[in-house]
């Protein structure tokens, strides 16, 4: 558990955070009279003016249902919606827009794969390999599918530093696996898995590879072609876009051979009383009226992220982690979980204060204007592995500052004072 970063060696952030913060109206708010210190970005991000305006603009200027209207407003809204898809495809370097499906959130994307691919491809006796780092949304669908069809599920462990046990993973893959479902970046610990290597190994072992990139796409450059996955799933609301937007990317060959998921509306090409034919990709998987305002908001968010540069955002987050970690570790009674260095991680820092329950921590933080998450982070298997019921988690994004790291540290001292620990 070496601490490789000390305060003086912090690399400067490449971002002009002061300018960025002006784009986020909510950051001007106060909480109980104190400036808002928003450090719950792994739960959801805040939204820039540009995204909020893009959404209002649709509703005020050319709102109409998409794809089927033979009039100008419908055509404009359809164009904006499909343009958002194109932006998203470029953002993750998808080979084709046809492979990018709009969903409500990562959870829906993962369940879509479980229902529409899993039920036809995972059979009795098949093995699904996954990890103890998974968010419930990338674990429970597989657990339930396995139970339903009689498949087996193998859960790969982490080491004490919060890194995936590659030896265990390899052993499990060697035993044979139909599917590897693995998170790119842990929402509980901030660990970034070596997904490219893992995916190659899994595919060589004959497994289909699904990567949960919900915590990756907002914070680090993600290139699905380079990654070598078969499916990736993510949520818009964690990347400056509104809740209700998100994406599933899948290889065209696989998507084409899958049955649909939800039935009705745009996903249909022709219906007779006896038989239905499906629409082409990607619409085959988009049933009913899409959340087109949210999707257009996601397009605007991608523009914003592209402008700032995701690699720079990652460097900025690491500069905050580098600033924060040594300060946290100086405080008696504070335990930090997961990686203690800057190697392969994002701006998520999970910790506990001895003698204070995370919920009490978060309540006291709140009165200091500091918003963090306290709980199991939809990571109960991971909490069990760590031997805790819950942690307090601070998670950063492009608009956070070192001053806010100081506020977090002060809030910890405040909590310790209240509890006399």
């Amino acid at each position: 558990m070496a601490v490789t970063v000390k305060t003086p060696t912090v690399k400067a952030s490449p971002l002009d955070v002061a300018r960025i913060r002006k784009d986020f109206p909510i950051l001007a708010q106060t909480v109980r009279g104190k400036p808002l210190v928003y450090l719950d970005n792994a739960a959801t991000s805040q939204k820039p003016r540009q995204v909020i305006d893009a959404m209002s603009r649709v509703l005020e200027e050319h709102n109409a249902n998409i794809h089927r209207g033979v009039y100008e407003f419908s055509e404009r809204t359809t164009a904006a919606f499909e343009e958002a898809r194109a932006k998203l495809a470029r953002f993750i370097n998808a080979p084709s827009e046809r492979e990018v499906i709009f969903v409500r959130n990562a959870t829906e994307a993962l369940n879509l794969v479980a229902y529409a691919w899993g039920r036809d491809n995972i059979k009795r006796g098949d093995r699904i390999v996954t990890t103890v780092l998974e968010h419930h949304s990338d674990f429970v669908p597989w657990q339930q599918l396995a139970t339903e069809v009689g498949a087996e599920i193998a859960v790969v462990d982490i080491d004490d530093d919060g890194r995936l046990r590659r030896d265990q993973l390899s052993a499990e893959l060697r035993k044979g696996a139909k599917l590897l479902a693995v998170t790119h970046t842990s929402n509980g610990l901030g660990t970034v898995n070596p997904v490219k290597e893992i995916a190659a190994e899994a595919r060589a072992a004959g497994a289909t590879v699904l990567v949960d990139v919900a915590q990756a796409v907002p914070h680090t450059p993600v290139d699905v072609q380079d990654l070598g996955a078969d499916f990736v799933a993510f949520s818009g609301h964690k990347m400056l876009a509104p809740p209700g937007s998100g994406g599933l990317w899948g290889r065209a060959e696989i998507l084409e051979n899958m049955r649909p998921f939800l039935y009705g509306g745009d996903m249909i090409s022709r219906v007779t009383v006896k038989l239905t034919e499906w629409n082409e990709l990607p619409w085959k998987f988009e049933a009913g009226t899409s959340s087109y305002v949210d999707a257009i908001g996601l397009g605007a968010a991608v523009d914003y992220l592209d402008d700032v540069g995701v690699a720079k955002i990652h460097a900025h987050e690491l500069s905050l982690v580098a600033y924060l970690l040594p300060r946290l570790q100086e405080i008696p009674g504070v335990t930090v979980y997961g990686p203690k260095d800057l190697e392969s991680r994002v701006g998520v820092v999970s910790f506990n204060i001895e003698g204070i329950h995370p919920h009490d921590v978060a309540t006291i933080f709140d009165r200091e204007g500091v918003c963090v998450r306290a709980g199991h982070h939809c990571n109960q298997p991971l909490m069990t592995r760590l031997g805790v019921a819950a942690t307090t988690r601070a998670s950063m994004y492009l608009y956070n500052t070192t001053g806010e790291m100081d506020a977090l540290v002060s809030a910890i001292h405040a909590a310790k004072k209240v509890f006399g620990v």
Binding site: V70, S74, T78, R90, P95, E97, E280
Partner: protein, 132 residues
């Protein structure tokens, strides 16, 4: 009044050229646009690599019918390779009217059926969505 529904478009719609069953057709392809219910069958009689005759049948909107009718006039006598080389821009230019995105599929249904016939397809292989 009209940019789009010009006289020649309406004329092709009301009096489609080369309309009806083609006896002795060597190539036939049927396609449809379920969105608007348009149906289209293109039939070619190919001899010596040339289009000796072409007919189409179907029903649909003025744009799809006129576009198909104009296309059949154009390709008579052309070589099969020339027919295969016709692209969407050519068809849209030939139509000579502004086509809004929602009507593109109407304007191109004839071409799609023609290509299916020219290539000797029985079902359409790919899809029309442009790759990135």
């Amino acid at each position: 009044m009209d940019d789009m529904y010009r006289d020649y478009i309406l004329d092709h719609y009301k009096n489609p050229r080369n309309f009806g069953e083609l006896e002795g057709a060597t190539h036939t392809y049927h396609d449809s646009n379920p969105l608007c219910g348009d149906e289209m069958t293109m039939q070619l009689k190919i001899g010596d690599g040339h289009v000796d005759d072409v007919h189409f049948t179907g029903k649909g909107c003025a744009i799809s019918q006129a576009s198909a009718s104009i296309l059949t006039e154009e390709i008579k006598g052309k070589t099969l390779d020339e027919v295969k080389a016709i692209d969407r821009d050519h068809v849209l230019a030939n139509l000579g009217i502004p086509i809004s995105p929602a009507r593109i599929k109407c304007a191109l249904l004839g071409l799609k059926a023609l290509k299916g016939a020219a290539w000797g397809l029985t079902a359409w292989p790919g899809e029309e969505v442009k790759a990135k």
